[in-house]
Amino acid sequence: MSEAGGGQATTGAVVSLERVTKRYGPPGTPPAVDDLTLTIPAGEIVVLVGPSGCGKTTTMRMINRLVEPTSGRVTIDGEDVMRLPAVELRRRIGYVIQQVGLFPHLTVADNVAVVPRLLGWKPARIRERVEELLELVGLEPAAYARRYPSALSGGEQQRVGVARALAADPPLMLMDEPFGAVDPIRRDRLQNEFLRLQARVRKTVIFVTHDVDEAIKMADRIAIMRRGGVVAQYDTPDQVLANPADEFVERFVGADRGLKRLSLSRVRDMPLVEPLLMHRSDSRPDARRRLAAAPLPYALLIDDARRPIGWLAEDDLEGEGSIGSHVELDPPTCVQPETTLRDALSAMLSSGVQLGVVVDERDAVTGLISVDAISETLRAGQPAPAT
Protein backbone atom coordinates (compact mmCIF):
# COMPACT_ATOMS: atom_id res chain seq x y z
CA MET A 1 0.00 0.00 0.00
CA SER A 2 0.99 3.66 -0.43
CA GLU A 3 3.81 4.76 -2.70
CA ALA A 4 6.15 2.50 -0.79
CA GLY A 5 9.60 3.25 -2.14
CA GLY A 6 12.79 1.23 -1.72
CA GLY A 7 11.13 -2.09 -0.99
CA GLN A 8 9.32 -0.71 2.07
CA ALA A 9 6.17 -2.72 1.74
CA THR A 10 5.25 -2.96 5.40
CA THR A 11 2.47 -0.87 6.78
CA GLY A 12 2.25 -0.02 10.42
CA ALA A 13 0.61 -2.05 13.12
CA VAL A 14 -2.42 -1.14 15.19
CA VAL A 15 -1.42 -0.58 18.79
CA SER A 16 -4.02 -0.68 21.46
CA LEU A 17 -3.84 0.05 25.17
CA GLU A 18 -6.77 -1.24 27.16
CA ARG A 19 -7.34 0.10 30.66
CA VAL A 20 -3.62 0.18 31.32
CA THR A 21 -2.43 1.24 34.77
CA LYS A 22 1.13 1.53 36.03
CA ARG A 23 1.94 2.05 39.67
CA TYR A 24 5.60 2.27 40.65
CA GLY A 25 4.84 1.86 44.34
CA PRO A 26 2.63 -0.57 46.29
CA PRO A 27 -1.16 -0.53 45.79
CA GLY A 28 -2.55 2.77 46.98
CA THR A 29 0.29 4.97 45.71
CA PRO A 30 -0.77 7.39 42.97
CA PRO A 31 -0.38 5.72 39.58
CA ALA A 32 2.01 7.03 36.92
CA VAL A 33 -0.48 5.94 34.28
CA ASP A 34 -4.11 5.59 35.28
CA ASP A 35 -6.63 3.33 33.52
CA LEU A 36 -5.50 4.47 30.09
CA THR A 37 -7.29 3.34 26.97
CA LEU A 38 -5.91 4.42 23.61
CA THR A 39 -6.00 3.01 20.10
CA ILE A 40 -3.24 3.98 17.73
CA PRO A 41 -4.21 3.42 14.08
CA ALA A 42 -1.82 1.73 11.67
CA GLY A 43 0.55 3.98 9.74
CA GLU A 44 -0.11 7.11 11.77
CA ILE A 45 2.13 9.29 13.90
CA VAL A 46 0.58 9.59 17.31
CA VAL A 47 2.26 12.08 19.62
CA LEU A 48 2.01 11.72 23.38
CA VAL A 49 2.51 15.19 24.78
CA GLY A 50 2.20 16.70 28.22
CA PRO A 51 4.06 18.27 31.11
CA SER A 52 6.78 16.28 32.87
CA GLY A 53 5.34 13.65 35.18
CA CYS A 54 2.27 13.07 33.01
CA GLY A 55 3.29 9.48 32.32
CA LYS A 56 3.87 9.85 28.59
CA THR A 57 7.24 8.10 28.61
CA THR A 58 5.95 5.39 30.95
CA THR A 59 3.03 4.83 28.57
CA MET A 60 5.38 4.42 25.64
CA ARG A 61 7.76 2.13 27.51
CA MET A 62 4.91 -0.20 28.38
CA ILE A 63 4.49 -0.95 24.69
CA ASN A 64 7.96 -2.54 24.36
CA ARG A 65 7.87 -3.73 27.96
CA LEU A 66 10.77 -1.67 29.22
CA VAL A 67 8.09 -0.99 31.81
CA GLU A 68 5.53 -3.65 32.62
CA PRO A 69 1.96 -2.55 33.30
CA THR A 70 0.48 -3.14 36.74
CA SER A 71 -2.84 -3.97 35.11
CA GLY A 72 -4.49 -3.73 31.71
CA ARG A 73 -3.49 -5.01 28.31
CA VAL A 74 -1.29 -3.75 25.50
CA THR A 75 -1.72 -5.33 22.09
CA ILE A 76 0.07 -4.90 18.78
CA ASP A 77 -2.05 -6.02 15.83
CA GLY A 78 -4.25 -7.80 18.34
CA GLU A 79 -1.42 -9.74 19.93
CA ASP A 80 -0.85 -9.27 23.66
CA VAL A 81 2.71 -8.01 24.20
CA MET A 82 2.99 -10.07 27.39
CA ARG A 83 2.66 -13.27 25.34
CA LEU A 84 6.05 -12.81 23.66
CA PRO A 85 9.46 -12.90 25.33
CA ALA A 86 10.38 -9.25 25.94
CA VAL A 87 13.61 -9.55 23.94
CA GLU A 88 11.82 -10.88 20.88
CA LEU A 89 9.09 -8.27 21.14
CA ARG A 90 11.62 -5.43 21.24
CA ARG A 91 13.45 -6.66 18.15
CA ARG A 92 10.23 -6.12 16.25
CA ILE A 93 9.79 -2.53 17.45
CA GLY A 94 11.99 0.37 16.38
CA TYR A 95 13.28 2.41 19.30
CA VAL A 96 14.76 5.90 19.18
CA ILE A 97 15.72 7.91 22.25
CA GLN A 98 16.73 11.51 22.86
CA GLN A 99 20.37 10.79 23.66
CA VAL A 100 20.46 8.44 20.64
CA GLY A 101 22.61 5.88 22.46
CA LEU A 102 24.68 4.80 19.47
CA PHE A 103 27.23 2.14 20.35
CA PRO A 104 30.54 4.02 20.50
CA HIS A 105 32.59 0.89 19.76
CA LEU A 106 30.77 0.09 16.51
CA THR A 107 30.96 1.87 13.17
CA VAL A 108 27.89 3.56 11.72
CA ALA A 109 27.25 0.52 9.51
CA ASP A 110 27.58 -1.90 12.44
CA ASN A 111 25.28 0.26 14.57
CA VAL A 112 22.60 0.12 11.90
CA ALA A 113 23.15 -3.64 11.54
CA VAL A 114 22.56 -4.37 15.21
CA VAL A 115 19.00 -5.67 15.11
CA PRO A 116 19.36 -7.59 11.83
CA ARG A 117 22.37 -9.33 13.44
CA LEU A 118 20.36 -10.16 16.55
CA LEU A 119 17.75 -11.62 14.22
CA GLY A 120 20.41 -13.66 12.42
CA TRP A 121 20.15 -12.18 8.94
CA LYS A 122 22.70 -13.24 6.30
CA PRO A 123 25.70 -10.87 5.97
CA ALA A 124 24.92 -9.99 2.35
CA ARG A 125 21.35 -9.05 3.21
CA ILE A 126 22.56 -6.95 6.15
CA ARG A 127 25.08 -5.11 3.99
CA GLU A 128 22.45 -4.30 1.43
CA ARG A 129 19.96 -3.16 4.05
CA VAL A 130 22.49 -0.92 5.81
CA GLU A 131 23.32 0.84 2.57
CA GLU A 132 19.68 1.30 1.70
CA LEU A 133 18.93 2.78 5.13
CA LEU A 134 21.87 5.17 5.19
CA GLU A 135 20.72 6.50 1.85
CA LEU A 136 17.17 6.74 3.17
CA VAL A 137 18.24 9.01 6.04
CA GLY A 138 20.48 11.07 3.77
CA LEU A 139 23.91 9.80 4.82
CA GLU A 140 26.13 8.84 1.89
CA PRO A 141 27.13 5.22 2.71
CA ALA A 142 30.61 5.57 1.19
CA ALA A 143 31.36 8.53 3.44
CA TYR A 144 29.66 7.41 6.64
CA ALA A 145 29.46 3.60 6.87
CA ARG A 146 32.93 3.12 8.37
CA ARG A 147 32.98 6.09 10.72
CA TYR A 148 32.57 5.80 14.45
CA PRO A 149 29.74 7.70 16.17
CA SER A 150 32.19 10.04 17.90
CA ALA A 151 33.10 11.45 14.49
CA LEU A 152 29.51 12.51 13.73
CA SER A 153 27.58 15.68 14.52
CA GLY A 154 24.52 15.52 16.79
CA GLY A 155 22.15 15.64 13.82
CA GLU A 156 24.04 12.91 11.96
CA GLN A 157 24.01 10.73 15.07
CA GLN A 158 20.25 11.13 15.37
CA ARG A 159 19.82 10.13 11.71
CA VAL A 160 21.90 7.01 12.31
CA GLY A 161 19.66 6.38 15.33
CA VAL A 162 16.58 6.52 13.10
CA ALA A 163 18.21 4.27 10.49
CA ARG A 164 19.12 1.78 13.22
CA ALA A 165 15.55 1.72 14.48
CA LEU A 166 14.25 1.09 10.96
CA ALA A 167 16.81 -1.63 10.20
CA ALA A 168 14.63 -4.71 10.60
CA ASP A 169 11.68 -2.91 8.98
CA PRO A 170 9.53 -2.94 12.13
CA PRO A 171 5.87 -2.03 11.71
CA LEU A 172 6.05 0.10 14.86
CA MET A 173 8.48 2.81 15.98
CA LEU A 174 8.72 4.25 19.46
CA MET A 175 10.43 7.64 19.58
CA ASP A 176 11.16 9.26 22.94
CA GLU A 177 11.90 12.98 22.39
CA PRO A 178 14.06 11.98 19.42
CA PHE A 179 14.91 15.53 18.39
CA GLY A 180 15.07 17.01 21.88
CA ALA A 181 18.84 17.27 22.07
CA VAL A 182 19.55 19.15 18.82
CA ASP A 183 19.38 22.90 18.26
CA PRO A 184 16.13 24.43 16.89
CA ILE A 185 17.33 24.84 13.31
CA ARG A 186 18.61 21.27 13.01
CA ARG A 187 15.53 20.03 14.84
CA ASP A 188 13.30 21.61 12.22
CA ARG A 189 15.32 19.92 9.46
CA LEU A 190 15.26 16.54 11.18
CA GLN A 191 11.51 16.84 11.71
CA ASN A 192 10.92 17.62 8.04
CA GLU A 193 13.19 14.77 7.00
CA PHE A 194 11.38 12.39 9.27
CA LEU A 195 7.98 13.44 7.92
CA ARG A 196 9.21 12.89 4.37
CA LEU A 197 10.63 9.51 5.40
CA GLN A 198 7.37 8.56 7.09
CA ALA A 199 5.44 9.41 3.94
CA ARG A 200 7.48 6.65 2.27
CA VAL A 201 7.67 4.01 4.99
CA ARG A 202 4.24 4.48 6.62
CA LYS A 203 5.11 3.04 10.01
CA THR A 204 2.97 3.35 13.07
CA VAL A 205 4.93 5.87 15.11
CA ILE A 206 4.45 6.65 18.77
CA PHE A 207 6.28 9.86 19.49
CA VAL A 208 6.80 11.39 22.93
CA THR A 209 7.57 15.07 23.42
CA HIS A 210 6.88 17.89 25.86
CA ASP A 211 6.93 20.46 23.05
CA VAL A 212 3.45 21.37 21.80
CA ASP A 213 4.74 22.88 18.57
CA GLU A 214 6.61 19.70 17.75
CA ALA A 215 3.51 17.68 18.58
CA ILE A 216 1.34 19.78 16.26
CA LYS A 217 3.88 19.55 13.48
CA MET A 218 4.55 15.82 13.64
CA ALA A 219 1.21 14.36 14.68
CA ASP A 220 -1.60 12.77 12.76
CA ARG A 221 -3.18 12.54 16.20
CA ILE A 222 -2.21 14.06 19.51
CA ALA A 223 -2.83 12.55 22.93
CA ILE A 224 -2.50 15.35 25.47
CA MET A 225 -1.76 13.88 28.88
CA ARG A 226 -1.93 15.49 32.29
CA ARG A 227 -0.24 14.61 35.56
CA GLY A 228 -1.34 11.27 36.93
CA GLY A 229 -1.28 9.55 33.56
CA VAL A 230 -4.67 10.57 32.20
CA VAL A 231 -5.40 11.52 28.60
CA ALA A 232 -7.06 14.94 28.54
CA GLN A 233 -7.75 14.90 24.80
CA TYR A 234 -7.01 12.54 21.94
CA ASP A 235 -7.68 14.08 18.56
CA THR A 236 -6.19 15.51 15.39
CA PRO A 237 -3.94 18.55 15.86
CA ASP A 238 -6.51 20.74 14.15
CA GLN A 239 -9.30 19.64 16.48
CA VAL A 240 -7.09 20.01 19.55
CA LEU A 241 -6.34 23.60 18.53
CA ALA A 242 -9.84 24.48 17.33
CA ASN A 243 -11.81 22.75 20.09
CA PRO A 244 -9.69 22.13 23.17
CA ALA A 245 -11.51 19.65 25.40
CA ASP A 246 -11.00 21.59 28.61
CA GLU A 247 -9.13 24.41 30.29
CA PHE A 248 -6.03 22.27 30.85
CA VAL A 249 -5.69 21.52 27.13
CA GLU A 250 -6.40 25.13 26.25
CA ARG A 251 -3.67 26.37 28.58
CA PHE A 252 -1.29 23.65 27.48
CA VAL A 253 -1.54 24.37 23.75
CA GLY A 254 -1.08 28.07 24.45
CA ALA A 255 -2.89 31.36 23.91
CA ASP A 256 -1.67 31.52 20.32
CA ARG A 257 -3.47 28.39 19.27
CA GLY A 258 -5.18 30.36 16.48
CA LEU A 259 -1.80 31.11 14.96
CA LYS A 260 -0.65 27.56 15.58
CA ARG A 261 -3.57 26.27 13.56
CA LEU A 262 -2.25 28.25 10.65
CA SER A 263 0.85 26.08 10.58
CA LEU A 264 -1.40 23.07 9.99
CA SER A 265 -2.72 24.38 6.68
CA ARG A 266 -0.87 25.18 3.54
CA VAL A 267 -1.39 27.65 0.76
CA ARG A 268 -2.61 24.86 -1.53
CA ASP A 269 -5.55 24.26 0.84
CA MET A 270 -6.82 27.79 0.24
CA PRO A 271 -9.09 29.17 -2.48
CA LEU A 272 -6.96 31.39 -4.69
CA VAL A 273 -7.93 34.74 -6.19
CA GLU A 274 -7.47 35.29 -9.93
CA PRO A 275 -4.92 38.10 -10.40
CA LEU A 276 -5.17 40.85 -13.02
CA LEU A 277 -2.04 40.17 -15.11
CA MET A 278 -0.28 42.73 -17.31
CA HIS A 279 2.71 42.65 -19.64
CA ARG A 280 5.26 45.39 -20.33
CA SER A 281 3.94 45.66 -23.88
CA ASP A 282 0.36 46.44 -22.75
CA SER A 283 -0.83 49.99 -23.45
CA ARG A 284 -1.29 52.26 -20.43
CA PRO A 285 -4.79 53.62 -21.21
CA ASP A 286 -6.04 50.10 -21.78
CA ALA A 287 -4.36 48.93 -18.56
CA ARG A 288 -6.00 51.79 -16.61
CA ARG A 289 -9.41 50.74 -17.89
CA ARG A 290 -8.87 47.11 -16.94
CA LEU A 291 -7.59 48.00 -13.47
CA ALA A 292 -10.58 50.27 -12.81
CA ALA A 293 -12.92 47.42 -13.69
CA ALA A 294 -11.10 44.85 -11.51
CA PRO A 295 -12.00 44.12 -7.87
CA LEU A 296 -8.42 44.59 -6.57
CA PRO A 297 -6.58 47.95 -6.61
CA TYR A 298 -3.43 46.30 -7.96
CA ALA A 299 -2.44 44.53 -11.13
CA LEU A 300 0.50 42.11 -11.35
CA LEU A 301 3.17 42.77 -13.96
CA ILE A 302 4.62 39.55 -15.32
CA ASP A 303 7.25 38.55 -17.83
CA ASP A 304 6.81 36.25 -20.83
CA ALA A 305 7.23 33.14 -18.62
CA ARG A 306 4.43 34.35 -16.29
CA ARG A 307 7.02 35.14 -13.61
CA PRO A 308 5.90 38.05 -11.38
CA ILE A 309 7.87 41.31 -11.63
CA GLY A 310 5.94 43.72 -9.42
CA TRP A 311 2.67 45.32 -8.41
CA LEU A 312 1.09 48.04 -10.56
CA ALA A 313 -1.17 50.63 -8.89
CA GLU A 314 -3.26 53.27 -10.66
CA ASP A 315 -0.54 55.97 -10.53
CA ASP A 316 1.98 53.61 -12.12
CA LEU A 317 -0.21 53.53 -15.22
CA GLU A 318 -0.64 57.26 -15.97
CA GLY A 319 0.18 58.65 -19.43
CA GLU A 320 0.27 57.08 -22.87
CA GLY A 321 2.29 54.36 -24.60
CA SER A 322 3.16 50.92 -23.25
CA ILE A 323 3.93 50.09 -19.60
CA GLY A 324 7.57 49.51 -20.54
CA SER A 325 10.36 48.79 -18.09
CA HIS A 326 11.14 52.16 -16.51
CA VAL A 327 8.53 51.94 -13.76
CA GLU A 328 9.63 51.27 -10.14
CA LEU A 329 7.37 48.72 -8.56
CA ASP A 330 6.64 47.12 -5.22
CA PRO A 331 8.22 43.65 -5.37
CA PRO A 332 5.68 40.85 -4.93
CA THR A 333 5.72 38.41 -1.99
CA CYS A 334 5.93 34.94 -3.49
CA VAL A 335 4.71 31.80 -1.73
CA GLN A 336 4.65 28.15 -2.80
CA PRO A 337 1.67 25.81 -2.50
CA GLU A 338 3.59 23.94 0.26
CA THR A 339 4.16 27.07 2.36
CA THR A 340 2.22 26.94 5.64
CA LEU A 341 -0.40 29.63 6.13
CA ARG A 342 1.52 30.83 9.17
CA ASP A 343 4.66 31.48 7.13
CA ALA A 344 2.64 32.95 4.25
CA LEU A 345 0.85 35.33 6.59
CA SER A 346 4.06 36.45 8.18
CA ALA A 347 5.66 37.15 4.79
CA MET A 348 2.59 39.02 3.50
CA LEU A 349 2.26 41.21 6.59
CA SER A 350 5.79 42.48 6.17
CA SER A 351 5.32 43.55 2.53
CA GLY A 352 3.72 46.72 1.14
CA VAL A 353 0.95 45.02 -0.82
CA GLN A 354 -0.68 42.52 1.52
CA LEU A 355 -1.22 39.88 -1.09
CA GLY A 356 0.77 36.70 -1.63
CA VAL A 357 1.61 35.64 -5.16
CA VAL A 358 1.37 31.88 -5.40
CA VAL A 359 3.95 30.49 -7.81
CA ASP A 360 4.62 26.99 -9.09
CA GLU A 361 7.98 25.23 -9.23
CA ARG A 362 8.98 27.27 -12.31
CA ASP A 363 8.11 30.51 -10.49
CA ALA A 364 5.10 31.11 -12.76
CA VAL A 365 2.05 32.79 -11.21
CA THR A 366 -0.85 30.49 -10.40
CA GLY A 367 -2.97 32.83 -8.25
CA LEU A 368 -3.17 35.19 -5.31
CA ILE A 369 -3.80 34.67 -1.63
CA SER A 370 -4.96 37.49 0.65
CA VAL A 371 -4.55 38.24 4.35
CA ASP A 372 -8.33 38.58 4.55
CA ALA A 373 -8.87 35.10 3.17
CA ILE A 374 -6.53 33.64 5.82
CA SER A 375 -8.20 35.42 8.71
CA GLU A 376 -11.54 34.32 7.28
CA THR A 377 -10.52 30.63 7.47
CA LEU A 378 -9.36 31.19 11.04
CA ARG A 379 -12.76 32.53 12.02
CA ALA A 380 -14.63 29.86 10.14
CA GLY A 381 -12.46 27.14 11.70
CA GLN A 382 -12.17 25.71 8.24
CA PRO A 383 -9.27 24.32 6.45
CA ALA A 384 -8.94 20.64 6.75
CA PRO A 385 -5.20 20.01 6.72
CA ALA A 386 -4.24 17.91 3.75
CA THR A 387 -0.81 16.83 4.89
Binding site: R90, Y95, G101, L102, F103
Partner: protein, 223 residues
Protein backbone atom coordinates in the same frame (compact mmCIF):
# COMPACT_ATOMS: atom_id res chain seq x y z
CA UNK B 1 85.69 -14.20 46.51
CA UNK B 2 84.40 -11.35 44.35
CA UNK B 3 87.89 -9.97 44.16
CA UNK B 4 89.22 -9.84 40.65
CA UNK B 5 85.79 -10.17 39.08
CA UNK B 6 84.66 -7.19 36.96
CA UNK B 7 81.43 -5.36 37.90
CA UNK B 8 79.78 -6.67 34.78
CA UNK B 9 81.13 -10.12 34.08
CA UNK B 10 80.42 -10.59 30.39
CA UNK B 11 82.02 -14.01 30.38
CA UNK B 12 79.58 -15.22 33.05
CA UNK B 13 76.64 -13.83 31.11
CA UNK B 14 77.73 -15.55 27.90
CA UNK B 15 78.33 -18.90 29.56
CA UNK B 16 74.99 -18.73 31.44
CA UNK B 17 72.84 -17.40 28.64
CA UNK B 18 70.68 -20.54 28.50
CA UNK B 19 70.04 -20.39 32.19
CA UNK B 20 69.16 -16.67 32.05
CA UNK B 21 66.75 -17.35 29.21
CA UNK B 22 65.13 -20.18 31.16
CA UNK B 23 64.65 -17.92 34.22
CA UNK B 24 63.11 -15.26 31.97
CA UNK B 25 60.63 -17.78 30.57
CA UNK B 26 59.79 -18.93 34.11
CA UNK B 27 59.22 -15.33 35.06
CA UNK B 28 56.84 -14.73 32.16
CA UNK B 29 54.92 -17.95 32.86
CA UNK B 30 54.46 -17.06 36.54
CA UNK B 31 53.25 -13.58 35.59
CA UNK B 32 50.86 -14.67 32.85
CA UNK B 33 49.41 -17.35 35.09
CA UNK B 34 48.86 -14.90 37.95
CA UNK B 35 47.30 -12.14 35.83
CA UNK B 36 45.22 -14.64 33.85
CA UNK B 37 43.78 -16.33 36.91
CA UNK B 38 43.38 -12.95 38.60
CA UNK B 39 41.42 -11.68 35.61
CA UNK B 40 39.06 -14.67 35.67
CA UNK B 41 38.43 -14.33 39.40
CA UNK B 42 38.01 -10.53 39.23
CA UNK B 43 35.62 -10.88 36.34
CA UNK B 44 33.48 -13.36 38.24
CA UNK B 45 33.59 -11.09 41.30
CA UNK B 46 32.62 -8.08 39.17
CA UNK B 47 29.58 -9.91 37.83
CA UNK B 48 28.60 -10.91 41.37
CA UNK B 49 28.97 -7.35 42.62
CA UNK B 50 26.85 -6.02 39.75
CA UNK B 51 24.20 -8.58 40.45
CA UNK B 52 24.21 -8.14 44.23
CA UNK B 53 25.09 -4.52 44.94
CA UNK B 54 25.54 -5.12 48.67
CA UNK B 55 28.56 -7.32 47.92
CA UNK B 56 30.54 -4.34 46.63
CA UNK B 57 31.68 -3.21 50.10
CA UNK B 58 32.80 -6.59 51.45
CA UNK B 59 34.42 -7.76 48.19
CA UNK B 60 36.39 -4.56 47.66
CA UNK B 61 37.26 -4.58 51.37
CA UNK B 62 38.68 -8.10 51.23
CA UNK B 63 40.65 -7.57 48.03
CA UNK B 64 41.89 -4.27 49.44
CA UNK B 65 43.09 -5.97 52.62
CA UNK B 66 44.86 -8.69 50.63
CA UNK B 67 46.61 -5.94 48.72
CA UNK B 68 48.03 -4.41 51.94
CA UNK B 69 49.68 -7.60 53.24
CA UNK B 70 53.46 -7.40 52.66
CA UNK B 71 54.38 -9.91 50.00
CA UNK B 72 57.07 -11.63 51.99
CA UNK B 73 54.66 -12.07 54.92
CA UNK B 74 51.99 -13.53 52.65
CA UNK B 75 54.42 -16.08 51.20
CA UNK B 76 55.53 -16.99 54.72
CA UNK B 77 51.96 -17.34 55.92
CA UNK B 78 51.07 -19.65 53.04
CA UNK B 79 54.06 -21.97 53.38
CA UNK B 80 52.59 -24.04 56.25
CA UNK B 81 49.45 -24.59 54.15
CA UNK B 82 50.66 -25.05 50.60
CA UNK B 83 54.33 -25.74 51.18
CA UNK B 84 57.67 -24.20 50.26
CA UNK B 85 58.99 -24.32 46.69
CA UNK B 86 55.40 -24.67 45.62
CA UNK B 87 54.08 -22.87 42.54
CA UNK B 88 50.72 -22.90 44.28
CA UNK B 89 52.05 -20.86 47.19
CA UNK B 90 53.54 -18.34 44.79
CA UNK B 91 50.45 -18.08 42.61
CA UNK B 92 47.99 -17.71 45.48
CA UNK B 93 49.93 -14.70 46.67
CA UNK B 94 50.51 -13.24 43.21
CA UNK B 95 46.87 -13.64 42.20
CA UNK B 96 45.73 -12.02 45.45
CA UNK B 97 47.67 -8.89 44.62
CA UNK B 98 46.10 -8.55 41.16
CA UNK B 99 42.51 -8.77 42.39
CA UNK B 100 42.07 -5.27 43.77
CA UNK B 101 43.43 -3.51 40.68
CA UNK B 102 41.62 -5.73 38.20
CA UNK B 103 38.30 -5.75 40.03
CA UNK B 104 38.30 -1.97 40.46
CA UNK B 105 39.05 -1.39 36.80
CA UNK B 106 36.50 -3.90 35.54
CA UNK B 107 33.81 -2.27 37.71
CA UNK B 108 34.87 1.24 36.69
CA UNK B 109 34.88 0.22 33.03
CA UNK B 110 31.40 -1.29 33.21
CA UNK B 111 30.07 1.69 35.15
CA UNK B 112 31.51 3.97 32.47
CA UNK B 113 29.11 2.60 29.85
CA UNK B 114 26.75 5.52 29.11
CA UNK B 115 23.25 4.82 30.45
CA UNK B 116 21.65 5.78 27.12
CA UNK B 117 23.70 3.11 25.35
CA UNK B 118 22.39 0.52 27.77
CA UNK B 119 18.85 1.87 27.36
CA UNK B 120 19.08 1.73 23.57
CA UNK B 121 20.47 -1.81 23.69
CA UNK B 122 17.69 -3.01 25.96
CA UNK B 123 15.09 -1.27 23.83
CA UNK B 124 16.37 -2.99 20.70
CA UNK B 125 16.13 -6.42 22.24
CA UNK B 126 19.56 -7.35 23.62
CA UNK B 127 19.32 -10.01 26.30
CA UNK B 128 21.24 -9.33 29.54
CA UNK B 129 24.00 -11.67 28.36
CA UNK B 130 24.25 -10.07 24.90
CA UNK B 131 24.29 -6.65 26.54
CA UNK B 132 27.27 -7.68 28.65
CA UNK B 133 29.33 -9.35 25.93
CA UNK B 134 28.48 -7.28 22.91
CA UNK B 135 28.08 -3.84 24.44
CA UNK B 136 29.30 -3.37 27.98
CA UNK B 137 32.56 -5.33 27.89
CA UNK B 138 33.75 -3.92 24.55
CA UNK B 139 33.05 -0.39 25.78
CA UNK B 140 34.77 -1.11 29.12
CA UNK B 141 37.78 -2.67 27.40
CA UNK B 142 40.14 0.34 27.47
CA UNK B 143 39.69 0.72 31.25
CA UNK B 144 39.99 -3.04 31.82
CA UNK B 145 43.19 -3.25 29.79
CA UNK B 146 44.56 -0.27 31.71
CA UNK B 147 44.01 -2.36 34.85
CA UNK B 148 45.71 -5.38 33.29
CA UNK B 149 48.72 -3.22 32.47
CA UNK B 150 49.13 -2.08 36.08
CA UNK B 151 48.50 -5.58 37.43
CA UNK B 152 51.04 -7.09 35.02
CA UNK B 153 53.78 -4.63 35.81
CA UNK B 154 53.17 -5.05 39.53
CA UNK B 155 53.20 -8.85 39.23
CA UNK B 156 56.47 -8.89 37.27
CA UNK B 157 58.03 -7.06 40.19
CA UNK B 158 56.49 -9.37 42.77
CA UNK B 159 57.55 -12.53 40.96
CA UNK B 160 61.20 -11.71 41.79
CA UNK B 161 60.30 -12.00 45.50
CA UNK B 162 59.08 -15.60 45.01
CA UNK B 163 62.74 -16.57 44.70
CA UNK B 164 62.82 -16.32 48.49
CA UNK B 165 60.47 -19.32 48.75
CA UNK B 166 62.45 -21.23 46.19
CA UNK B 167 60.56 -20.50 42.97
CA UNK B 168 62.62 -20.15 39.80
CA UNK B 169 62.47 -16.80 38.03
CA UNK B 170 64.67 -13.83 37.22
CA UNK B 171 64.44 -13.28 40.97
CA UNK B 172 66.44 -16.43 41.60
CA UNK B 173 69.36 -14.85 39.75
CA UNK B 174 69.23 -11.98 42.22
CA UNK B 175 68.64 -14.02 45.39
CA UNK B 176 70.36 -17.37 44.83
CA UNK B 177 73.37 -16.20 42.88
CA UNK B 178 73.69 -12.44 43.28
CA UNK B 179 73.01 -12.06 47.00
CA UNK B 180 74.15 -15.52 48.10
CA UNK B 181 77.51 -15.16 46.37
CA UNK B 182 77.80 -11.35 46.44
CA UNK B 183 77.94 -11.46 42.66
CA UNK B 184 76.80 -8.14 41.21
CA UNK B 185 76.44 -9.23 37.59
CA UNK B 186 73.70 -11.71 38.51
CA UNK B 187 71.82 -9.01 40.47
CA UNK B 188 72.11 -6.67 37.52
CA UNK B 189 70.89 -9.25 34.99
CA UNK B 190 68.01 -10.35 37.19
CA UNK B 191 66.87 -6.82 37.97
CA UNK B 192 67.27 -5.37 34.50
CA UNK B 193 65.62 -8.45 33.02
CA UNK B 194 62.55 -7.82 35.18
CA UNK B 195 62.52 -4.14 34.23
CA UNK B 196 62.75 -4.94 30.53
CA UNK B 197 59.95 -7.48 30.89
CA UNK B 198 57.77 -4.92 32.66
CA UNK B 199 58.34 -2.26 30.05
CA UNK B 200 57.77 -4.71 27.19
CA UNK B 201 54.55 -5.98 28.78
CA UNK B 202 53.30 -2.45 29.33
CA UNK B 203 54.03 -1.38 25.76
CA UNK B 204 52.64 -4.60 24.35
CA UNK B 205 49.38 -4.32 26.26
CA UNK B 206 48.99 -0.69 25.32
CA UNK B 207 49.47 -1.63 21.66
CA UNK B 208 46.93 -4.43 22.10
CA UNK B 209 44.45 -1.96 23.54
CA UNK B 210 44.81 0.36 20.57
CA UNK B 211 44.39 -2.57 18.22
CA UNK B 212 41.26 -3.87 19.97
CA UNK B 213 39.58 -0.50 20.49
CA UNK B 214 40.18 1.62 17.40
CA UNK B 215 37.06 3.62 18.26
CA UNK B 216 38.48 4.96 21.51
CA UNK B 217 41.29 6.65 19.62
CA UNK B 218 38.98 8.33 17.15
CA UNK B 219 36.93 9.60 20.07
CA UNK B 220 39.99 11.09 21.69
CA UNK B 221 40.90 12.98 18.54
CA UNK B 222 37.36 14.00 17.64
CA UNK B 223 36.55 15.73 20.91
Amino acid sequence: MTDGRPLVDVEWIVSNVDDIWQRTVDHVVLTVLAVGIGLLISFALALLVRRYRWLAGPVLGITGTLYTIPSLALFALLIPITGIRSILTAEIALVSYTLLILLRNILAGLEGVPPEVREAARGMGFSAWQLLWRVELPIALPVIIAGVRIATVTTIGLVTVTALIGIQSLGSLIVNIGLAQFFFTAVLIGASGAVVLAIAADLGLSALQRLLTPWSRSRATAT
